[in-house]
Symmetry: D2
């Protein structure tokens, strides 16, 4: 895993974030402590390794600390900012937009803020998506709604033409809210504007409902998504208990990482089997899922609830050729409907009564507004994205370590997906809550 | 419609409810006004017709009034009651069970109450579903959960063998909570016990989440279901607005009647098209759904939300042979996935961008607990079911007219499905809220 | 009770609703069945009494049937409508406003709709509350929020000056959404405009969260309020169970009628004592509340939940002189804090440990948006208010009997408050659910 | 602040956690990585200071890392555990209880688990609160309910007698879930059992809805509380907007620290004034709250929402003598009703119309069940409390730093209350979201 590599060779992972030039404008912010430019935030908390690195005279793994600086690069009076949201919906998009606008407007006095419509399409003239003009009144209540007021789209657009649009609009800072693919697009824009010597700060706010980007801490929308799964798990449980050998099968988000499935199974402990991409499983045989289900239903428990991440069990589809979506993501085979068919067929063949109810709630989960502390995380990310942009930073995203916000080069955030460590405490807690290995192994406590 | 036939010939529809014999036991209920045996509740409120019927010396359409009687038939001390829930889940099942138990226990002092497990299966010994013993402690908190603590199953069982079980258990009242098929089963039991001269009151509590049984008034669970649809409609709206030409397509319950779809479209007025079984529609052509969708998306509205009842548009599947489920209901062709495919293909063929998101929330809607006034309706139905049973009534369900509860012969309740009147105020309100005919017709106000 | 008087002498209660003149304009509504002017809706369903009245050649109690007419009085092209909301908040106000606007706009093509700000104050120039201009875009999403976008205020204003304002604005229909006091104000306006021969239709939409107006059926907002009480009752229950002899005391709305308290106690059956204005109770003595509480806590149940309507137990404040609020309503003495003090003092004096937690959630309950079927009721009332106004009706409110909407003279709706019948099935169900008389009497089942 | 002192002199704050003896029993846990006894978790992430400390050859601030060890102290087969919950309710209590029971039962095979009733009272025989026997079935669904199934009480009990009870019951591990006062009680027990050489592990799970304990990271229940405030803030906003110069005044928890008030104001950004204990304010004068409110209402905003923490503005009550509650906490003067009276009187005196609505939702907020990631935090704390107890740790609480769980001596956790840093980013964000200083200062952006 990437985390281990960083601890082994922190030197290889300690970059300065790109910068458009030396900040020389005095910040208009008053009554607040500024962050010194040299301040850094440690990555991780492994004391032993840190002491060892220090003894060896080496670097500790760390990121630039985010926050307002006394000197900034862009002159607020001349600043023209643009915001774009890309990819699938995620709770908190509107909170991020709102807070970027309010911080630009109230903290820095910026008065020209464009909302780019429908993702990167909005930067390509042919699509004829006129930008919205944003100010505090326009965004006052948008946090009460899910989705994004800007609209979104998938897939890349021509980098040169997007930079042309930024130039034509005289935009000097672009906030890109999106996931893996979007951030790669943002990186391409950031590198192109540098090549052209356009003075545009390209700053990402990392969006991944799956919580699978590296180095950025828990991603916004994740907490809300976990909370939102609770209701559908309760429904699956109620349906399962309502029938003889009832099975509630719930497919949740998680293309490459099982964080939502794992957290959901802990947050509402009605789940008996949690299947994630990081932990392969078999369908048939003595250790297979079908036999495990039989053991559960035989053993006096007359129902079962199964949570499956959409990326789980992909090796069960060996013979099917790979397909990709508009953003270039490999399309997963539909493990949900696959399991639904296999389980029903299995019990029918064995003449065991079984009523399987299938749930696929992804759109409902991701389209809600962000709640409570998750909304606050959105504000923190957005605020610090604005501070970074005003400093003239470029080609970076805002991250956090739970205590402080950080500047993370886009390159690092997209280097490798974060995964559930199946030997770590999260997965162990899931195994403890579900007791699923008892059913897979046939040994009970 | 049945309602018109009743108004025309009320004599044909005015039955006495079956009775096991003359009530001669004094009710243990104190401090409460009893209902006289002759009291009846008018059906409908059509003054003109009523006056005309009276002038002609004819009968007014009416039902026996439900409620406690001074004399009852079954001796509470010897009473052994059984409760069974059948068919699909519906909000309020546990409220009905709870209230039957509490009324039997506290009002009449009945101490032997069986909960039959998993529907009619629980009355057939081979299935080995042991009955639960129910008392107020056992049901104290069950109303906080959706589903049914008794479990349910679909399909009929052998009537003779079920009656044998009732005889063996010495049960003298059976409460059947279920829909059309279940009530037909209850009627068969009621008629068989009468044939055998078993003194068993078979009383139904009509369950239809679709609100499509006749003469029983608004059915329990319906109000909660309508409320529960709101969240998914909001999600569909958020998803639709989040993409260029986004379409949110939501399939809701409603096999033969579009009540849930119609009410849902009114209760959360984000719906642009509401499609129900009672109102056929075409897919293609100038008046077709596809052209209507185009008109909406062309007309400056860049999104659309469609609600479709599961029984809508069945004539679009002309060539597919009919199939039935375990309860004998004709299986509907899946209009949801059909429309999803047709709409996507249409816009792709026309090279119009379009992002369709499909929602099928039925299990999530029906598995919640009953809320507020809907829970209170459950209690009223259950309470009056117990009063009817104690009086020795048989072969009936409890209904209501909004003001009073009534005794309705099972035969009448299952005579004909209640439908949305597409010339009446409900449907007109839906047309007003959605403005869908403007899009079908191409004329706008 | 008023209901009995009506059944005895329906002639005294059968009015024609006031009318500005003979409708002669053809309604622009198409594709819909119109209501004939003579159609009436029966009030009640007492078959015996109805038959007797018919035999005696007398009138049946009934109201004019609401709904669209073929001929209307006001010319839509010249119509200038105004909407005003008065008194305390109630769920559904925005739904009513929205639906009045949409029906005026889409069904009749009315293009001038004023939103009067802050109740009747908005009709008095000195207050300088400029009216809002309303159209479908302005009200598109207001149903998602509680409260009223127009604002509200309490208390009457000078009738002559309000009519002057209507004249100056050329308003020919005024929709007044409010309770008892507001409707009396509306009646005064209606009578004044008739005196002046101003052609203004004054139509009320009756608002009473307490559900205590006569002849109008269940009032809008009531269903939502009942639902909203559930959460606070659960909190009170959790707090009560969390302490030795914990008592959760919840004051709910209900100045003169205990409908909310009664329904709330049924809808979430954690309540042990429900105290309402219609059922006096003593504090001290063997039959008093304090002794009843002791019995409950002694009897092995170590907690209690009490719901008290704000108008309950007012005779316990004999010596305190009466006070009134701005709308002229008698101010109730605060039974909630009174009971809180009395109960705490009582157990302290007896040296019985007791932890009382007090809840006063009224503002939280009344400020939510209307849900599901309650929202639909709002639309129906509003739609029919518009139809009535267009017909030139005056000095009336819209009511319903569960099946049909009706025209009810303001005079009748405000004649006498509707009360919980403490000998009827609602109260009996509450007694059954709480078992409170067992504690008051000291006899248990 | 304590945090600074720790960074200056980490040596003074680096303790070993108390231990009953050398662990020599092999843990029954399989298939999981154990934590080495020496592993520590850094406190904070200040790289500069850490490097400096290392250069000076000094200690880095850190805590023992929590988690399962290969060798444990208590023999599971002989273990008798007890769980007690004290003080006010907090979301997540039942999750903590559930997870302690499940970890003891499934991970270690412990079969004797007592639930002590009603706080420390349950350890004193006179109160006659019989303990509950706990196992996985007993706790299976308790996480769905707020409160604590064990009940709670306030105030200390005799330490010697509590230790006698533990001895009599043969209890060798006591889990104390509670706040400041409870943990001090737990510390007294821990020290007394050490004095007596009773082999009892006393392990705390820190409970503080105010999030004001030091060194333990975000406390369980806090996230849920923040989320739960959202609804009441929306109500306050709706009520405020519904009246001319409407003011919604909401008192939230926060006796010494304003975390809930601050987070609530960020999580639902309808708040205009957030008043917390850490930031004194004046009532009168040009910089006072009353003048600030006037400025807001004058300035075209016709409403205001005020959030006040219960411990805010205590210096406004100079002349009132201090009082304490049963747990020894200084009772705060009621700032909520004080402000309500002062604001109303002020505007009345100035003859400015003003409708103030007051909300005091504390019991409703704290009695809900824990949600989503907050529930998961409860499980993590509980799991690690059990691991610590099995290792023979004593006199400690479980904390976390966002990444890892830690062992924190009770002495440190209760040393000093955590406060909102009014010069830090949290408070700055609140000022940004409310813009309240603009109103206090009379300068607007």
């Amino acid at each position: 895993m990437l985390y281990k590599k960083v601890l082994e060779n922190p030197e290889n992972y300690t970059f300065d974030v790109d910068s458009l030039g030396t900040p020389s404008v005095t910040s208009p912010i008053e009554g607040r402590q500024f962050i010194d430019n040299g301040e850094r935030v440690l990555f991780g908390d492994d004391q032993q390794r840190f002491l060892q690195l220090v003894k060896e005279g080496r670097t500790l793994p760390s990121f630039e600390k985010a926050g307002p600086r006394e000197k900034i690069y862009h002159d607020p009076a001349w600043t023209r900012a643009a915001i774009v949201t890309c990819g699938g919906l995620c709770p908190g998009l509107n909170d991020v937009i709102k807070s970027i606008v309010e911080t630009l407007y109230f903290d820095y006095g910026v008065r020209h803020i464009f909302g780019i419509r429908y993702g990167f399409e909005g930067l390509i003239p042919e699509f004829k998506h006129e930008p919205m003009m944003l100010d505090p009144d326009a965004v006052d209540k948008i946090h009460e709604e899910g989705g994004t007021i800007l609209g979104s789209s998938r897939g890349p657009q021509d980098v040169g033409r997007m930079c042309d649009t930024l130039e034509r609009l005289n935009v000097n800072m672009l906030f890109c809210i999106g996931g893996d693919g979007t951030l790669r697009g943002a990186r391409a824009i950031a590198e192109e504007v540098q090549r052209r010597k356009q003075k545009v700060s390209v700053i990402g706010v990392p969006k991944t409902i799956d919580n699978d980007l590296s180095f950025i801490g828990r991603s916004f929308g994740f907490e809300t998504s976990v909370y939102s799964t609770s209701e559908v798990l309760t429904s699956a449980h109620v349906e399962a208990k309502g029938a003889v050998n009832g099975i509630g099968l719930v497919k949740l988000m998680g293309r490459d990482s099982g964080f939502i499935a794992a957290y959901a199974s802990l947050a509402n402990s009605v789940v008996n089997f949690c299947l994630i991409p990081e932990q392969p499983f078999e369908l048939d045989g003595e250790q297979g899922l079908l036999r495990a289900l039989e053991r559960r239903l035989e053993g006096g428990k007359d129902h079962a609830v199964i949570v499956v991440a959409e990326g789980a069990g992909q090796d069960l589809f060996k013979d099917i050729p790979e397909q990709k979506d508009a953003s270039g993501n490999v399309l997963k085979n539909d493990i949900g409907t696959f399991l639904k068919a296999k389980i029903s067929a299995h019990f029918k063949a064995k003449n065991i009564p079984c009523a399987l109810k299938y749930f696929d709630p992804s759109y409902t989960i991701r389209s809600v507004p962000a709640f409570g502390t998750d909304a606050i995380l959105c504000y923190g990310l957005a605020e610090n994205a604005v501070h970074a942009a005003m400093q003239g930073k470029n080609n970076m995203v805002v991250g956090h370590n739970g205590l402080h916000f950080t500047h993370v080069p886009i390159e690092m955030a997209t280097m490798e997906r974060q995964k559930v460590n199946v030997e770590g405490p999260l997965w162990y807690s899931v195994l403890g809550a579900t007791r699923q290995n008892d059913y897979f192994n046939g040994r009970f406590k």
